[in-house]
């Protein structure tokens, strides 16, 4: 039998049919739905008189638009368009009978946080959502990726997706990470090396000791940003850490079914001689706390670096860097640690889990954030929020001067009222530093939660290892 990668195995297990030209029909195990990319798809179903094929495998939650301020419990969303979109999801979820976590449910949160949290996300599955950061779920050894709204409608109607197979890429992080270096620094460093198009056409499997040593939270952070490197999906083979996390979750299998599932899940690994089309190996000890300086997630440097010059690059990147530096208001040659910050945002599907808030609390405990700093913490779900409160993490953050919000996507993409004004500069634990991403004219530096906490204390980008 030919040796297979983990991706090959999941693909083969879900393949319904394959045409001569490679066009394939894949079965989809879980379909996650949110309010921004689904209304046109449900409308399409209505127009053609179609039903949702598998409502029991479809999970809907509002996250992108929802306000995260405490007054949202009054049920008033002031932005008319946001309100209409939230109402549309509410109606669609109820009309079509899919699983649904409304805004006032404590289980509501960012779609990629609640899938794993509720046990919808399981090893070996195919998972799709009308959101590029669906890659997050790959941390469980499931093939998970974003789709467009036409494909959302296709999956709703048929529980399948038309696909062509990607190539296999291996990213191995060997050895141990140094103190102060986290999953976020791994994933950003990889994108810095591959570029935002380096993964295009591939599914990445992350492996190696440093990946094995990560918690599920950390693995989700790594896979979450696979899409920023252009990959269709990121994968990490499941192991005891995965099974431990999954066991006992509300929708995870129980009893005999659990035993049966475990039998199958133990085969979810890449065979020894399996072929990868591309391999990248990085030593864990070579990874430093990372930060972006430009307007593309590939504009990554260790915090000890300096702002580069357009002349350091070639081809189309020269003009792109000129434009980035102008947009970011930075001068070539300045130390990254000299960049002054006025806003800190901790949250998002990249870093909105309990471990992320613990990391911030560890650094700011008993301290105060820099005077004048706007620092917002948005938990990824109502349950993460509750857990952080119970553990005392929330109080530490509040005492340090952070705003402690309700769950949602918030300032990661600024579709709700949380956004940057032109010229404001934010250290963000999010995934995209595109122009205008956090608000028109806003300037974003992507960092880990620990690095965001450090910047909140000092008022400038800071090497967390120096604190």
């Amino acid at each position: 039998m030919t040796a297979k990668t983990l991706y090959d195995k999941i693909w083969d297990a879900h393949l319904i049919s394959e045409d001569e030209d490679g066009t394939s029909l894949l079965y989809i195990d879980r379909h996650l739905v949110h309010e921004v990319t689904s209304p046109q798809a449900f409308e399409g179903l209505r127009a053609s008189g179609r039903k949702v094929h598998a409502p029991d495998k479809t999970i809907a939650v509002p996250d992108h638009n929802v306000p995260t301020t405490l007054d949202r419990v009054d049920g008033v969303v002031k932005n008319e368009e946001s309100r209409i979109q939230l109402e549309a999801l509410d109606k669609n979820a109820r009309d079509f009978g899919v699983h649904y976590y409304p805004v006032d449910d404590v289980r509501q949160g960012v779609v990629h946080i609640i899938g794993p949290e509720q046990g919808w996300t399981l090893p070996g599955m195919t998972i799709v959502c009308g959101d590029s950061h669906t890659a997050t779920h790959g941390a469980f050894g499931s093939l998970a990726h974003g789709i467009g709204t036409s494909e959302v409608e296709h999956v709703l109607a048929t529980q399948t997706l038309i696909q062509t197979k990607s190539k296999n890429m291996k990213v191995e992080i060997t050895g141990k990470l140094s103190a102060g270096v986290t999953a976020k620094d791994i994933t950003m460093t990889v994108i810095g090396l591959t570029g935002t198009a380096g993964g295009t056409g591939y599914v990445i499997e992350y492996c190696g000791e440093a990946i094995r040593d990560l918690s599920m939270e950390g693995r989700m952070t790594v896979c979450n940003m696979a899409i920023e490197g252009g990959a269709r999906a990121g994968l990490i083979a499941p192991d005891e850490t995965t099974f431990e996390y999954v066991k006992g979750r509300p929708h995870a299998p129980k009893g005999g079914l659990w035993e049966l599932a475990m039998e199958a899940w133990k085969n979810l690994y890449t065979d020894e001689d399996a072929h990868f089309d591309k391999v990248l190996t990085i030593k864990g000890e070579d990874i430093a706390p990372a930060v972006t300086w430009g307007t593309s997630p590939e504009d990554v440097l260790p915090i000890t670096g300096i702002v580069p010059s357009p002349e350091d690059f070639e081809g189309g990147k020269v003009d792109a860097v000129k434009r980035s530096l102008e947009y970011m208001g930075l001068t070539s040659g300045m130390k990254l640690t000299d960049i002054q910050i006025d806003t800190v945002f901790v949250g998002s599907c990249t870093n909105g889990r309990i471990e992320d808030f613990r990391a911030v609390a560890d650094i700011v405990k008993g301290k105060k954030i820099k005077e004048g700093m706007r620092a917002i913490v948005v938990p990824g779900s109502g349950l993460v929020r509750a857990q952080a409160e119970e553990e005392g993490v929330a109080q530490i953050l509040i005492d340090a001067g952070f705003e402690w919000r309700l769950a949602g996507c918030s300032m990661c993409l600024a579709m709700n009222p949380d956004k940057l004004e032109a010229g404001e500069r934010c250290a963000a634990t999010t995934n995209r530093n595109f122009e205008g991403r956090q608000g028109r004219g806003g300037r974003t530096h992507l960092v880990s939660p620990a690095m965001a906490a450090a910047a909140a204390l000092t008022g400038h980008l800071t090497d967390v290892r120096d604190l």
Partner: protein
């Protein structure tokens, strides 16, 4: 979906690399529950000042390119989010073809679902077409999907490749949900067997 056979139109040059989906259609315009009407906000932050006035040197604001139907773009066009609002906005503006050395995966797929043809070409061909596109109103380019040939303003021809199934759907304006539903027996059979093997799913 509108059938795609042959498009002859003005090509607009956008040499910037990594043009992302937030540039193509900023998030404040995603709060719609319709697919139409997004063309007026295409490239909004590059195209308009905050007061709504036009930024005159942006390519699609220049008289020669206001009716462009083709964009010749730098590497990795459409990177970022899965929002189909990006191709909806392009289509609503009138863009039917985007040519680049590379595209982001999800954006590339989304184009085909909306009657837009994304064409991947080697750097030298993109450079040539970028030059052609710089000729303003004279930058008329023809894209012939049937024969997979681009004809430049000087008559020069460039061949391109396109996935056979995607080409078929574009040419016939096919809704692929209908096509998949023709396979409902295979789907049902798969579901039955797979469901028996993996009852926890």
């Amino acid at each position: 979906m509108e059938k795609f056979t042959k498009v002859t139109g003005v090509a607009a040059p956008m040499p910037l690399i990594n043009i992302d989906t937030d540039m193509i259609i900023p998030k404040l315009f995603l709060k719609t529950i319709k697919r139409s009407g997004l063309g007026k906000n295409l490239f909004d932050e590059m195209r308009f000042n905050e007061d709504g006035s036009e930024i005159s040197d942006f390519v699609l604001n220049q008289p020669a390119y206001r009716n462009a139907e083709i964009i010749v773009a730098g590497d990795n066009f459409g990177c970022g989010s899965s929002r189909e609002h990006a191709p909806w906005a392009l289509l609503d503006f009138g863009i039917r073809v985007v040519i680049s050395t590379s595209f982001a995966d999800i954006f590339f797929n989304n184009c085909f679902k909306n009657g837009i043809l994304p064409i991947i070409l080697p750097q030298e061909d993109v450079d040539k077409l970028m030059d052609d596109a710089g000729r303003g109103a004279n930058a008329v380019v023809t894209i012939d999907l049937e024969n997979q040939i681009i004809t430049g303003p000087d008559g020069g021809k460039i061949e391109f490749t396109v996935d056979a199934f995607k080409k078929h759907c574009l040419q016939n304006g096919l809704d692929d949900i209908g096509l998949t539903m023709q396979k409902s027996d295979a789907i049902d059979a798969f579901e039955k067997q797979y469901g028996a093997e993996t009852p926890w799913v």
